[in-house]
Structures are given as C-alpha cells and as structure tokens.
Subunit: 246 residues, 2 copies
Amino acid sequence: MTDALDVFVSAHSFREKDLRDKTVVMIDVLRASSTMVTALHHGAKGVIPVGNMDEAGKISRNLDSESFLMSGEKNGVKIDGYDLTNSPLEHAADVVTGKTVILNTTNGTKAIDRADHADKILVGSFLNLDAVVKHLQDEKNEIVLVCAGWRGRLSFEDLLCAGNIIYELCSGNLSNTAADGAKVAFGLYEKFADDIENSIMSSNYAERLEGIVSKDDISYCCQRNELQNLPALNKGIITSLDDTAN
Amino acid sequence: MTDALDVFVSAHSFREKDLRDKTVVMIDVLRASSTMVTALHHGAKGVIPVGNMDEAGKISRNLDSESFLMSGEKNGVKIDGYDLTNSPLEHAADVVTGKTVILNTTNGTKAIDRADHADKILVGSFLNLDAVVKHLQDEKNEIVLVCAGWRGRLSFEDLLCAGNIIYELCSGNLSNTAADGAKVAFGLYEKFADDIENSIMSSNYAERLEGIVSKDDISYCCQRNELQNLPALNKGIITSLDDTAN
C-alpha cells in the first residue's frame, strides 16, 4: 500500500492538483497538529485553522462570544486579546471543553488551504500516530502526507513523523518502488527512531524558539500514541472522526 | 563549517531572499547538472540554461549559427530542429568543443532563476563532487545546496548528492546543530552511500522515464569524481571556474 503514498516536505512542495481526490494527512508536529489533536481530545467542539489575525477576527465576529477561544501567538508571545497561545498544554479539558478553538497557524493553515482539492484531510502527529496508521491501513484513496514545514522549507520533525507513519504502514519494509519522498522520510525515521525527542530538541524549530517555546511543550509533542482521536477537516472546521465514520 | 550550510529540496522550497549573498550549488543530477559538467569538460565554450523552447529560440537568434548547439527533449525525444537531447553522453568532445550549448531544462533553470540574489551560483553533480567539495571547503559565504527536484517535489538523486557533498565537507560527522535540510540529506546519504547507482535506478525519475532515458545515461550520472571541473554561472552563461578564479 505504501506504493500509493507520497510525502511532500512543505506546503510549497507540490502543485494543488497533485492532491486531487487523495487522502491528505497534514503534519505540523510543532505545534499545530499536536494542538488540534489535544484540543479535540479534551472536548473542544472543533478547531478552525486560520492563517493570520485578520482571518481569525472575521471568523470570531460571526460566533457567539461564549462559544469560542482564540489561540495564537506572535514570536512566541500570546497575541493581545487572545485566550491562549499555540501551546497544546494550554488546551486542557477545563479550558476547551465545548468550545470552538480558532487556531492561528501560518504553515499548518497554508498546507490545509493548498489541499483544497483533496478528498479527505486528516491531521497527524506523534500523539495520534496509531489512529492515523489504523485509518490509512484501510484507505482506498491514494495517500499523501503533507508536512507543513516552515516558510517553504522542510522541517525535521514533520518529516520524521511522516517517516514513522510510513514505517508502521509497511511494517518496516518499504518497497523499492516507493515514491522518493516516502523513501527519504522512511530513511530519516530509521535513523532517528530511537532518539525522537532528542533529535527534535536539536531541530531548527527548537533552536529558533529556544527560551520562547517550553521544552515541556516539545517533549509533549514527541510522545507517541498518547491520544487516540483522528482530526479531520469538514467545511473549514476540524473535528474528530468518530469510529463509525472511520 | 556545515553549520553555515542549508539544503533546499526543490526550486520551490525557499524564498528568493533566503539565498541573498550566499553561495549556491545547484544540483540536478538527472540530468542538467551532469550534462553541464560534461559539456564544459569536453570543451564547450559555455552552457546557457533555458526553461523552455521560446527562450531557447530567442537566445539562439542572437548568436552566429555556427557557434552554438541546441540541446533539449520533450518526453525524452529530441526536439525537432535541435542538435542534441539532454543526454550528457551526447555532449562528447567532437560535438561540443568550442560551441555554446543552449540547454533546455525546466527544473534546473527554475532553480537557477530563483537563485538570482545569490553571490555565486555553482553547479554540482556526482561527476564533479570532489571539485565542489574542494571549493566549498574554502568558502567564506554561507552555503546553500539547491536541489532542482521535480515540479516542486524533492528528487531522491538530488538530495542524495547533496548529502554526499555534506558528508565529505564534515568528514562524516555532522554537527547536531546543522540545519534540518542538511540533516535529512546527510542521513539519506549515510543510508544509501554503498548503493548509489542501484538506489537511483529505482528512483521516481528512472521509473518515470524508463525506456526513454537510457540506463547508460543514469549509470554515467552516478559516477563520482570522474570530472574535475566546477561550472559557475556568470551573466547568464555557465562556464568552468578556472583554478586561479577558485
């Protein structure tokens, strides 16, 4: 099945039509994907991904003020008037239950926007890796893992997570005829499988945001299979696929 | 020195300003880089990379008809009225000596065009790997290896070549603080170092063009350090850096 699977390393590294009718897994380990999975696990009604503050403002004006939370940060600091930063750890049950979270996330939103022609858009992270793999094992569509990356570049942690998904899907034996992107992600995972957290701690993301994003946040996002839900996009809102819909 | 080095996996995976004042090595193993290195080694006066037939036509109209050759193909077949395909093996000494080669190459040209703000643009391949590494060892600028990729996607063979260059530059010990792109390329090279030709033979490129591009062509492009010249772009024309200019 991994022959019908490709990996794109950033939101810029494909043509929109390359995703047509496919099942897309959007991966933004640090931290959009991890925060979405966490918020939904803890009872948020939905997550609306937005690319900037303007868009967040427009959406929030159409919602009852009690019904939503705004999450976002600029240079690692909570945006004035927002409820939360992008930290998954802030999206705890007592905060998010029953609320719609409007999540500001540049690279993650870009990846989702460019996946407009896809048949299905799912959200993957280390936290819900098993749920992603289980769903993909029965998938009939071609699969594309879209790493959010950073400003068009690849991000180590996203590609590593894509590699881990592929590794599980092919039980550690990737076909020689797999796509180039799948081979690269798989190889990266093989190399760093025993050292996920440390290797991510020395990634460009961690370095860029040292002293701004907490190590607890990063450690949390590196945990595998802590959460069992599988977020999916439906008319602009991300909610968990329930078991019957799987 | 590999801390001041990044890798971009395709011509789309960076912002043009990310290359400002840097030294860029453009890598399009199959086959633009390999053909440029080969043509110059065999005495071509220069190579002019163009992105399409129109551009090739415009440039050729300003040149004496005896002074140039047109190289290009569409779906693996030589373009009507052209002298050569993109095969490096056709760019032999008795054909190219003293001529300017106008080379049609979509992905390679895109990478070069987008590197307009760079301080220096060099051309790298397995064929001239040593020449690239030697030059970069003394480089004062920050270095970016730009893989041409294919339609925005990464290409296995380009990233593998980037990884090989990095491996040589850091003598097999990549710093923990290297850029994400450098880590990915380095890891890929470590995995496939002993199997370069076979792994490239099963890449997407080889698969896409099976029966069109000869295996001899691919084998040739996988040979390391066969040629010692280092092509560099100067006012739109690629020529070999001579030893004194190094």
